[in-house]
């Protein structure tokens, strides 16, 4: 791909970008959100039409109008948000993209299913063709997407942010599989902004910034620091700052060890009233949790996803009642608090699912910044909304939190991950807080946004806020936390703040190497 250009309206998304892929290599396409990575790959895959530039495959020029043209040339793409129909089975989803079958016949499902399962076996990506997609985990769905591409003869795979919604274990498995695939001759492009994954899996890296190339490097000849610098075009604080420096920054003076802001003691909770078929099952999610957070400290809850973090988040945000045990904020009992009660007690909340729980997509950024205060001063009173004040607060948040929008009137649903999260945080921090529950606050965000959000959390700590940080990102734990707990199978244990101890506890072992539980 040479000199590819593409504009949306007056904004140039790609301004003469180049990209060269070799046979059988894993090539990482790196860049911040909005750098043009996805646009470039969408053009390659025929999802978007380019304004200029040319694309050559094995030396001959191609001009894909639709993804089907690209598939016919041996390309396959796995989107960040999977393009699967949950109600259909795996094999039905696969043959949906088939061109060979006539409309009034269903192709032989048996044969297709066998072909798919053979393929799955060959590549070591086990899958059951008859399962409904809605019953599969995120990792399995991704496997289906990859297999679907291979089923249609893809020799080049494009993966858009393939690790964004995977657990750390699944990430490692995926990257290993991708290396196997590359060794077997498939060329692979990974769109990402995770530096460690680049270093772990890629042969070469192309960095994009503002729609054009910064450079292409051999992964073995570069470092995370160099790549980060290329991505953002300046030095990045978070990567250079060592733990030691960070430790000194903790301001001991604001800590008040005697009075915890948040106190959990012996908390049990059952949750996820899951519908399996026709019966509803209540599953115990949290067992005998105890935890205290004092003013001016960030306490991290680390762990592999699915070990009870969602339940803990729900308890602390008032979505889930505790079965037994003590849950208090500033000494006030919260065991039966609603989300509203918790807000009134000064407990802010940054939800892990920022789009579903953190934003109302169809309303403006301004409303989203203030909607928990509508009906009270200064946004208005019980009967009226002061729209001017609302807009003023919105504009102020846009400026203060560097939200990339034309104005606070823009709809929140159109925001990218980083900007959406800034809106969520702006709302949470607009109130006078005692406690902040931050669940996966930087998941899926680019380096610039992560740096910004970490900065905010540190600033709040120095002002004496107590923060509970639920995260699966070990770097985040190390960068921010004063104390660390690890969650494993619904239980919480405090561990020393070093990577080895945390890693061991995440896997269910304690320092002596014994299997706990």
């Amino acid at each position: 791909m040479t000199g590819v250009r593409k504009s949306f309206g007056s904004v140039a998304a790609l301004d003469g970008a180049d990209f060269y892929l070799r046979h059988g290599e894993i090539h990482a396409l790196l860049g911040e959100n909005g750098a043009g990575k996805s646009t470039l790959m969408n053009i390659l895959y025929g999802l978007e039409l380019r304004d200029g530039g040319e694309i050559l495959i094995d030396g001959h020029p191609v001009d894909f109008q639709t993804p089907q043209d690209a598939v016919a040339e041996g390309l396959g793409m796995v989107h960040q948000h999977f393009k699967l129909v949950p109600r259909l089975t795996v094999i039905e989803n696969v043959i949906l993209g088939g061109k060979d079958s006539r409309a009034f016949r269903l192709p032989d499902l048996e044969t297709s299913a066998r072909k798919l399962e053979d393929l799955a076996e060959t590549y070591g990506l086990p899958i059951s063709a008859r399962d409904r997609v809605s019953n599969l985990s995120v990792g399995e769905q991704q496997r289906v997407e990859i297999l679907r591409s291979l089923y249609f003869g893809a020799r080049t795979l494009i993966l858009d942010e393939p690790t964004a919604s995977l657990t750390p274990l699944e990430v490692r498995q995926l990257l290993a599989k991708l290396r196997d695939l590359a060794r077997a001759g498939t060329s692979i492009i990974i769109i990402t902004h995770h530096l460690d994954e680049v270093m772990e899996s890629a042969d070469r890296v192309t960095v994009l910034r503002s729609g054009s190339n910064v450079g292409t490097l051999e992964a073995s000849e570069t470092s995370q620091l160099e790549l980060a610098r290329m991505m953002v075009g300046r030095d990045v604080g978070i990567l250079t700052q060592s733990d030691a420096i960070r430790d000194q920054k903790v301001d001991q003076s604001v800590k008040d060890k005697n009075r915890p802001v948040l106190r959990l003691s012996g908390v049990d909770a059952s949750s996820r009233v899951a519908e399996t078929g026709k019966e509803t099952v209540a599953r115990r999610g949290l067992f005998d949790l105890s935890l205290e957070i004092h003013p001016g400290e960030i306490v991290a809850v680390a762990g592999v996803e699915g070990n009870g973090q969602a339940e803990l988040e729900d308890v602390l945000s008032g979505f889930l009642e505790v079965d037994q045990g003590e849950f208090a904020i500033d000494g006030k009992d919260c065991t039966t608090c609603s989300p509203e009660d918790l807000l009134n007690l000064g407990a802010g909340y940054i939800p892990s699912d920022r789009y579903r729980r953190g934003l109302i997509g169809g309303l403006s950024v301004a409303v989203n910044v203030s909607y928990d205060r509508i009906g009270e001063a200064p946004v208005g009173n019980r009967f009226w909304v002061d729209s001017k004040e609302l807009m003023r607060l919105g504009d102020r948040a846009v400026e203060e939190y560097s939200i990339a929008v034309r104005g606070a009137g823009e709809l929140a649903g159109t925001l990218s991950g980083g900007n959406a999260q800034r809106v969520v945080i702006a709302r949470a921090l607009a109130k006078e807080l005692r406690l902040l529950v931050a669940a996966q606050p930087t998941r899926g965000l680019d380096v610039g946004a992560i740096e910004f959000i970490w900065g905010l959390l540190e600033e709040q700590r120095s002002r004496g806020l107590a923060t509970l940080l639920i995260t699966t990102d070990l770097d985040e734990v190390m960068a921010l936390s004063d104390r660390v707990y690890v969650m494993y199978r619904g239980r919480l244990s405090e561990v020393p703040r070093d990577r080895e101890s945390i890693g061991l506890a995440m896997g269910g072992a304690n320092k002596q190497g014994e299997e706990s539980l």
Binding site: L47, E48, T66, P67, Q68, V71, H79, H81, F82, K83, L84, V85, P86, R87, L88, E92, N93, I95, L96, G97, G98, K99, S101, R102, A103, F104, R105, L106, P107, G361, G413, T414
Partner: protein, 325 residues
């Protein structure tokens, strides 16, 4: 009145025969609508499709003197409304619910107006003899079942074939798979190379043709006449039956049979209780099938929603749009 005239041994077989006959117009429309909704289009114009089909079927049969001409004419009438529905919904992407209701109102006014212009008034002019039943040789002489199933109008046989054809199309063909994908995750279908718009066009037209045929069966197969609002809300019942049948064509048809049975029973009760002479208002009886439909749907729908409703039902598809709820 004598209840044995309604449910008695001698009355039972004609009753079931009538139930099937009365179920067909609603059933055709309902099955067509379930197919349409599976593609994600909430087509509320069914009543308008049926009514327009009924008028064009009547006109075709009346002016040509051949009942069979009424069949394509009626299907054409349903398709006409279908084309309008598809244009508004898919081309101009206006709100589906509004499109449907507007088209029903339009069809009600337009059919009455046309009929009045052509025949001077809305009274019972231009009656003709409805289509005669075909007794299927052999099968119709099976005691009981033979008379119920195999002594029906040829239009009933045609309808049954079509209803099974829709089931087959939805569940056993590539096109059916595409329809389901488009109705659940249009963006995923689009990425797989399926044209969301084209698929939905076909689905709406299928609904138009089936509803139009429903109008044909009513006018050419049963009444032999047209009158203002002759479909009497059967199109709305059809939509309710789709929910009752959880978007599964054969379950939907079963619901239509229940509707037909209630209709047949109320006709019997009317007759047995003295017909016109009765002091019970006949409107009360006529309301029965609708009341039963409401009751059944209320009980069935709470569960039905979760188990079959297409996820993108009623939502327009914009290619390449970033936000999906």
């Amino acid at each position: 009145m004598d209840w044995s005239d309604v449910f008695g041994g001698a009355a039972l077989i004609p009753l079931l025969n009538a139930a099937i006959r009365l179920a067909i117009p609603t059933g055709l429309a309902a099955v067509g609508e379930s197919f349409c909704q599976k593609s994600g289009v909430l087509n509320l114009s069914v009543e308008g499709m049926m009514l327009t089909g009924a008028l064009t079927a009547y006109l075709g049969a009346y002016y040509s003197g051949s009942l069979w001409v009424g069949v394509p004419a009626g299907i054409g009438g349903g398709l006409l409304v279908g084309v309008l529905m598809a244009l508004f919904t898919l081309k101009f992407k206006t709100e589906q619910v509004i499109n449907g209701i507007a088209l029903v109102l339009l069809a009600q006014a337009a059919t009455s107006f046309t009929f009045e212009e052509l025949f001077g008034d809305l009274t019972l002019t231009g009656r003709f003899e409805p289509m005669k039943n075909w007794e299927i040789p052999g099968l119709s002489s099976i005691p009981g079942v033979g008379t119920v199933l195999f002594n029906q109008s040829p239009l009933v046989y045609l309808s049954v074939v079509l209803i099974f054809a829709i089931w087959y199309l939805l569940n056993r063909t590539m096109f059916g798979l595409a329809v389901k994908a488009v109705g659940d995750r249009p963006a995923a279908a689009d990425a797989a190379g399926i044209s969301v718009t084209r698929t939905r066009w076909v689905a709406i037209l299928v609904s138009g043709a089936m509803s139009g045929l429903g109008g044909v069966v009513l006018v050419v197969g049963q009444l032999g006449m047209f009158m203002q609002n002759v479909t009497a809300g059967r199109g709305w019942v059809a939509i309710a039956l789709v929910i009752f049948g959880r978007w599964k064509p054969l379950r939907v048809m079963a619901g239509a049979l229940l509707f037909g049975l209630t209709d047949a029973i109320q006709l019997r009760i009317q007759a047995a209780s003295g017909g016109i002479e009765s002091n019970v208002p006949f409107e009360l009886f006529q309301a029965m099938p609708y009341l039963v439909t409401i009751a059944v749907v209320v009980f069935a729908s709470a569960r039905a929603r979760r188990s079959g409703e297409p996820e993108a039902l009623g939502r327009p598809f914009f290619k390449g749009a970033q936000i999906e709820a």
